[in-house]
């Protein structure tokens, strides 16, 4: 919560004024019973009409001024809460943008999304409520007690008993119920999970005739939930009746105490009425305070979760000083190994190869063979645990990330697009030629020109969320076009032709090989057909290189490659 206070500082004036104004409003409220007491003791008692009218004027004035004060306070607290959370949200987004791949992966994308949305919303609500109520409620409880002392110190002693007893009751009930509400929530999530699991597995469960046993499990879960709710509810059910008893017994006490004093002439009837009123006010505010504390308890973890992200180190990688502009773009891996932070074994081990500028390099291997890890190291998403990676003779660590992104044109495995227009998706790299002609050329190269132009608006055609208004194959070709923008010196296709038919794939490769500036082309795939024509093919298995060479060599020397190949192209006779 401390870091939220840091953000509040920027709006210090309003953040202090809002609760102060709320307290002022509360003061007006506390004055009302006193005015009433005067109406009774002076107005009614002395039959003074003028005085009664004057005092009612005071009541109206208190109400109107109270409204003005309270509206101002509401405005200030809304402003502070909203602006404060907007600042937090922005800083968090900037933070997320600055996190390295490794750091982002560590947290997970779902977690980041909920933290920047619902957690910050929770903070906003809480800041708003705290500014409005956190001082007001205790102030009224305290104020009512003080006013009681002003009216009649002897009777006010009742307050000194009632207020602590009430607080204790509220505290005990909350102490019992709050953790149980959390359990109930968890148990409810369990019920939800059971339903979802059953819907997803409906075919399997029916095929295995598991309906009855699933029902038993589910009924058990709902029973546990209902039992927990009932037990917790029976304690929560005590709160209202018991506090009611305490407050009203307090009033009884006040009446008895004051009767003696009125009889003795040290107290007036109006004062009795006032002091009874103060007692009634306390209860409402204590309950409000209890609810506020519940809200705060929910907000604390939210704030903690947001802070956790804010305090993450941006980058765990080594960065050297800026590299010079390279005069060639050869890529060399020398004995490179890499191990993920929490892994027990290296993901890739002792990998060496070199890719001369302008050549075609294929990487093949099954899932889990280490292809994706290898690619991460190409763009310096992570530091190599051992060995050295150079780009144009300079260590990859020496390059700035933006520099690397200018050299590489990457087409990721998952063909995803941003909502917006085709044009915006193609011109993501800010400092490059984004004329219509360049974009059209990239689309042509990626075999995407025709279907984009058929869409309404052409380059300005709408792209829906995740590009769902394009087919899988079309999306893939659009991401290829995006990767080709800005004439990158190294093009990496990460399993990017999986949704294309063979004819289109062949045409795409022909286009790439025909590019004028002769970029290096790196093709990662599970299909032998995609890498067959590469100058060199790196065959990986279990994080190791099991073969390096061209297609013919590998067929002869690398059993894994042979296996993958014949799996797709069965030998004559069709045996396995």
């Amino acid at each position: 919560m401390k870091f939220v206070a840091r953000y509040l500082k920027k709006y210090k004036a309003q953040a202090i004024l809002a609760p102060l104004l709320k307290m002022l409003e509360a003061t007006f409220e506390l004055l009302v019973p006193l005015v009433m007491a005067n109406i009774i003791d002076r107005g009614i008692h002395n039959q003074d009409f003028a005085y009664i009218v004057k005092m009612s004027g005071v009541l109206v004035l208190l109400a109107v001024v109270g409204l003005g004060v309270s509206i101002t306070a509401q405005y200030f607290s809304a402003k502070v809460a909203v602006n404060c959370s907007a600042d937090i949200r922005r800083d968090m987004f900037v933070k997320i943008m600055s996190l390295s791949t490794g750091q982002q992966d560590k947290v997970g994308t779902d977690v980041l999304t909920t933290r920047i949305t619902s957690d910050i919303n929770q903070i906003q609500n809480t800041v708003n409520m705290v500014l409005r109520l956190f001082l007001r409620s205790p102030f009224i409880v305290l104020g009512a007690t003080i006013m009681a002392f002003i009216v009649n110190p002897k009777c006010a002693i009742v307050f000194l008993i009632v207020v602590p007893v009430l607080s204790l009751i509220v505290y005990l009930v909350m102490k019992y119920t709050l953790p149980r509400y959390k359990q109930i929530q968890k148990s409810l999530e369990g019920v939800m999970k059971a339903v979802s699991e059953n819907l997803e597995g409906v075919r399997v469960l029916r095929a295995f005739n598991c309906q009855d046993s699933e029902k038993d499990i589910f009924f058990g879960k709902t029973k546990d939930l209902a039992d927990m709710q009932t037990t917790t509810g029976s304690v929560a059910a005590l709160l209202n009746p018991v506090t009611y008893v305490v407050v009203n017994l307090g009033i009884v006490g006040l009446l008895l105490f004051s009767s003696k004093q009125v009889d003795a002439g040290t107290m007036l009837t109006g004062e009795v009425v006032a002091i009874v009123n103060y007692m009634s006010q306390i209860l409402v505010e204590l309950i409000k305070l209890a609810n506020l504390i519940v809200l705060l308890m929910k907000a604390f973890p939210s704030a903690g979760r947001v802070e956790e992200i804010m305090n993450m180190a941006n980058d765990e990688r080594v960065h050297g000083k800026n590299a010079n502009d390279a005069d060639n773009f050869d890529i060399v891996f020398e004995n490179v190994s890499f191990q993920y932070q929490d892994a027990s074994e290296p993901a890739i081990e002792n990998i060496s190869f070199s890719i001369p500028e302008g050549s075609v390099f294929g990487i093949i291997g099954g899932t889990g063979s280490g292809k994706s890890t290898l690619l991460h190291l190409f763009y310096h998403d992570y530091d190599a645990t051992e060995g050295k990676i150079t780009l144009g003779g300079q260590n990859i660590n020496e390059f700035e990330d933006s520099h690397i992104s200018n050299i590489y044109g990457v087409v990721p495995q998952k063909a995803t697009l941003f909502a917006g227009k085709v044009r915006e998706n193609l011109s993501m790299k800010s400092h490059m030629d984004t004329s219509d002609e360049t974009m059209r050329e990239a689309l042509r190269m990626a075999c995407a020109y025709d279907f984009v132009m058929e869409k309404e608006g052409g380059l300005d055609a709408k792209v829906e969320r995740n590009g769902r208004n394009f087919s899988g194959g079309q999306r893939q070709r659009l991401t290829i076009a995006r990767g080709l923008m800005g004439d990158p010196r190294v093009i990496i296709l990460d399993d990017s032709a999986s949704a294309l038919d063979l004819v289109t794939e062949a045409k795409l490769y022909k286009n790439l090989l025909g590019m004028k500036h002769k970029p290096t082309i790196i093709i990662v795939s599970q299909r032998a057909s995609s890498v067959k024509k590469a100058d060199q093919i790196l065959c990986m298995e279990d994080g190791h290189v099991v073969g390096l060479g061209n297609h013919e060599t590998l067929l002869k020397t690398c059993p894994t490659y042979e296996e993958i190949y014949y799996c797709q192209y069965p030998r004559e006779g069709g045996s396995e």
Binding site: V32, M36, H45, S56, V60, L62, A63, V64, G66, L67, S70, I71, Q74, Y75, A81, V82, A86, F93, I96, M97, T109, T113, T117, N128, V191, L199, E200, R203, R206, A207, F208, N209, Q211, K215, F218, T222, Q229, N240, P241, V245, N248, I251, L255, V262, D263, L268, T269, V276, G365, T367, S369, S405, V410, F418, A419, K429, N466, S498, C567, E576
Partner: protein, 580 residues
């Protein structure tokens, strides 16, 4: 499922609540007692104040009497309020549980077409949140509305008894605060809508950027993303400020009205007291009524929306509970089967206007293999749906060993079929219990045996707790291939005479795929098998190939026959499997 109108829903709700009518009556009695006793207190306080009139004029015996009454009233209120809370809890939680259980029970029995045709999220929200909203909204709303109305009626009654003219002031002016509240709420609704829209827009942008963080980074898009975010954030801030501020005006403005009424009642009361028409104690009673009188109005207006919401939720939930069950009217016992399957003139379609399978005839001898082939999304799973009787045929018959599958209990039919689907579904439970789904009494040895046969033993024993490892999130810690091996092992444990298999597509690496293939081969030995096939070897070795396109079986025969026919199958074979 048929949608119900409001009246039908209400009568249906009453039926559902009938078992609780005793409890509900008890709750109402408690409410009546609580409310009347609560309203009595201001009167007793007023009388007590009158007993403490002035110096030397204190009526002690009267005061003691009143205080005694107060004590009794407080005790009664406390007791019945507590009882009412308990009873209400009991009703709410029991009704919620009963409805959830009924809905879940129905979920197990409804035709699969109902589940396939609905978003899973929809049923989930019916069973989880609709049940809650219904119970909370309807029952709590009902008690709140009931006590609210009781309070209002009671207050008016007592006020008129004390002073009709002052009562009139309160009764006439209180609706003003409701009008103000409504006015503010209506205006802030507009801002809330705007806020929700801005929030949604920002959230989807954030999700997009975070999900595609690799694209963002590799295109050095960060600064621009921040600029776009800033613009959205500013708009959200503005909308959010308006929404928060306007909605926070409700309380202060209604409080103003109530305070003004309080002042007027004070003046009127005082003047009447001077005239001797009422006592000072009665002034305090009526003042305290005027303070509490407005509250139930606000509550009731909230209850009405809640009530409507609850009825809507109940409608959705009851619609699910009242949905028809699958027809299951067994006429015959199957006993031991050999696995002969016949489709006789079968026609089927998911929707009436789109005929799919028409007059399909197919005879599969025991032990034969049927490969179902065709483009993705072509409807290969339709055959599985019909065989398992997940969907019923429209015309014709499907026979197993000469018996119509509609004449057999579903349980018995299913126990003769083993099924391994490509969507590898695993329960959130231990590996062991996942594997023994088909045979809950299987011994540990039998389970390990099956796992070994499915090539799953070697990775299972390397899991943190081997066979006792809990699988979370559908076994997300396992690879797709490992999950499929688990599903195979699950079926291996209790191998039935007929198998339905779904070969994995390319997402599995070669090695694992070979293991799966070998496990499949082991299973298929001597069993009638239907395979949704992708691998050439499976297809070529099949006794019958069904080529399915656009949901229809367009070709049928073995490999050689279909190649000679030179139709769809031949074309597919040439484009996908032959080297160009």
């Amino acid at each position: 499922m048929k949608e119900k109108n409001q009246k039908e829903i209400l009568s249906r709700i009453l039926k559902e609540l009938k078992p609780y009518s005793g409890w509900i009556v008890l709750s109402l009695i408690c409410a009546i007692i609580t409310v009347s006793q609560t309203l009595l207190i201001p009167i007793l306080i007023g009388r007590a104040v009158d007993c403490i009139a002035a110096r030397g004029k204190v009526d002690y015996s009267g005061l003691i009497m009143n205080v005694l009454y107060m004590g009794i009233s407080i005790g009664v209120t406390c007791l019945f309020q507590w009882l009412m809370n308990r009873v209400n809890n009991r009703i709410t939680y029991s009704v919620t549980k009963a409805l959830r259980d009924k809905a879940f029970d129905k979920m197990q029995k409804m035709p699969l077409s109902n589940i396939d045709g609905h978003g899973h999220g929809d049923y989930m929200s019916r069973i989880v949140s609709d049940a809650d909203t219904f119970a909370d909204g309807l029952l709590m709303g009902f008690t709140q509305a009931f006590t609210g109305v009781m309070t209002i009626v009671g207050t008016i009654f007592f006020m008129i008894k004390i002073s009709p003219s002052i009562a009139l002031i309160v009764i006439l002016l209180t609706p003003l605060s409701l009008l103000v509240a409504k006015f503010v709420a209506k205006n802030s609704y507009r801002y809330f809508k705007e806020q929700a829209a801005c929030k949604g827009e920002q959230t989807s942008f954030v999700e997009e950027v975070i999900e595609q963080n690799d694209v963002v980074r590799l295109n050095a898009f960060e600064d621009e993303a921040i600029a776009i975010f800033d613009e959205k954030n500013q708009r959200l801030t503005k909308a959010s400020l308006s929404a928060t501020f306007y909605s926070s005006l409700v309380n202060p403005s209604t409080r103003l009205i109530n305070n003004l009424i309080y002042a007027m009642v004070g003046v009127a009361g005082a003047i009447m007291a001077i005239g001797g028409k009422i006592t000072v104690g009665q002034v305090t009673t009526i003042l305290s009524y005027s303070n509490t009188y407005a509250k139930p109005f606000n509550e009731i207006s909230g209850v009405i929306t809640e009530f409507q919401n609850a009825i809507a939720c109940a409608g959705r939930l009851l619609e699910m509970i009242d949905a028809p069950c699958e027809i299951d009217e067994p006429k015959e016992k199957l006993g031991q089967v050999s696995g002969r399957i016949e489709f006789i003139d079968v026609s089927f379609s998911y929707t009436k206007d789109k005929p799919l399978i028409e007059h399909l005839n197919l005879t599969v001898e025991p032990g034969q293999r049927v490969a179902i082939v065709g483009p993705t999304g072509g409807g290969k799973s339709t055959i599985i749906n019909l065989l398992m009787r997940f969907y019923e045929v429209d015309e014709g018959r499907i026979l197993i060993d000469g018996t119509d599958i509609r004449d057999i209990a579903r349980d018995e039919l299913h126990s003769n079929f083993g099924m391994v689907l490509q969507e590898t579904w695993l329960k959130e439970d231990s590996v062991k219990r996942n594997l023994s789904l088909a045979n809950k009494d299987a011994t540990a040895e039998e389970i390990i045996e099956a796992a070994k046969a499915a090539h799953a033993h070697s990775f299972i024993k390397r899991l943190p707790k081997a066979y006792d490892t809990m699988l979370v999130d559908g076994g997300s810690a396992l690879s797709q291939g490992q999950r499929q091996l688990m599903c195979i092992a699950r079926t291996m444990l209790d191998l039935p005479p007929v198998l339905i298999l779904d070969e994995a597509t390319s997402s599995i690496d070669t090695r694992t795929e070979q293991k799966i293939q070998s496990a499949f081969n082991k299973m298929m030995e001597g069993r009638t098998t239907f395979v949704v096939a992708h691998r050439l070897s499976t297809i070529k070795n099949a006794d019958i190939i069904l080529f399915v396109k656009d949901g229809k079986v367009v070709e049928q025969g073995n490999h050689a026959f279909l190649l000679r026919k030179n139709g769809f199958y031949a074309k597919l074979y040439q484009s996908q499997f032959e080297e160009t």
